[in-house]
């Protein structure tokens, strides 16, 4: 497994919660640096995220909502940190793929994790019918 790490940023307890789920499933929660935008100004969100993103081996920033202040801050950070990749709308399946992914580069890894995360989104309309999307493994 790679030593890459990522910042996970979002509203309220999103990051803490989803990272705790990663830990429960994989035991590898240390891969992620969780961050909450709770009660912070846009400038403070950016400053604190920038500090976290400068930790060793951070290649990627995951955020919860494309329109959220963490995503806005991440876009600003990427302006002078082109080595980082931003993934918005992150879900648990996406983060797990990031944890267990191979040694591919940051951009390719992010794209792969996004594909798997998208596949995990599914509707299950009744017990007798197949869902509209794929499924992901769970614990």
């Amino acid at each position: 497994m790679s030593e890459r790490r990522a910042l996970v940023a979002g509203h309220a307890s999103f990051a803490e919660g989803i990272v705790s789920a990663v830990t429960q499933i994989s035991g590898r929660g240390e891969v992620f640096l969780p961050f909450s935008n709770r009660d912070l100004s846009a400038k403070d969100v950016e400053k604190q995220m920038r500090d976290l993103a400068s930790a060793p081996n951070v290649t990627t920033i995951f955020t919860d909502l494309p329109a959220g202040s963490c995503t806005m801050a991440a876009r600003r950070i990427l302006r002078d940190r082109p080595d980082l990749v931003l993934v918005t709308g992150a879900n648990l399946a996406t983060l797990l793929e990031f944890v267990f992914g191979d040694e591919r580069g940051a951009v390719d890894m992010a794209r792969y994790a996004v594909e798997r995360g998208r596949e995990a989104l599914a509707t299950v309309e009744d017990a007798g019918r197949k869902g509209s999307g794929g499924a992901t493994h769970g614990d």
Binding site: S41, L65, P66, A67, S69, M72, R75
Partner: protein, 163 residues
């Protein structure tokens, strides 16, 4: 009136605005009034990327918003007007006389400000500016999201810390 909400929020366009208010109010456009953003195409593109494609976004300086406010208010669509700070909103109110209610949605920590609510920190000058606006007959309430109870200015200014 096409502008449903006049909001002071130092995050400008973000989740609470686009989703939290945007969906229940069925907002179709955002007017972002900020002198700095109005000067920067990069900043405008950044904010535009955070908004669903079907939602219009207009960028104005305070001066250009004063000129265009009547047109925004006559728009058939439902919109929200945002400023990042109290002085910009106060200027807009003073120069147009066309704003009757202001929503304080998020003014966060900065040196010199006192915390009044979880999401509202104010300096003495900012408190005075809000009082002056209310003195001109403008209703000022604090409310971060639609599900929260709007707090009148007097309650906001008498609050001591987290609520």
């Amino acid at each position: 009136m096409a502008i449903e909400l006049y909001r002071i929020d130092d995050r400008l366009i973000h989740g609470q605005v686009v989703v939290g208010w945007g969906q229940p109010l069925s907002l179709e456009f955002i007017v972002l009034v900020d002198d700095e953003v109005a000067e920067s195409e990069w900043e405008q593109e950044l904010y535009r990327m955070g908004v669903p494609p079907e939602m219009g976004v207009y960028f104005d300086s305070v001066a250009s918003a004063v000129e265009r406010l009547e047109r925004y208010q006559a728009d058939e669509r439902r919109g929200i007007l945002l400023t990042a700070d109290i002085p910009s909103m106060a200027q807009l109110c003073a120069d147009t006389g066309a704003i009757k209610r202001i929503n304080v949605g998020g003014i966060h920590h900065r040196p010199g400000r006192i915390q009044r609510l979880r999401y509202v920190f104010l300096s003495p000058q900012e408190e005075e500016a809000l009082r002056a606006l209310e003195g001109r007959g403008i209703e000022i309430t604090a409310q971060d999201v639609p599900a929260a109870r709007p707090l009148p200015l007097s309650d906001m200014l008498s609050a001591e810390g987290v609520r």
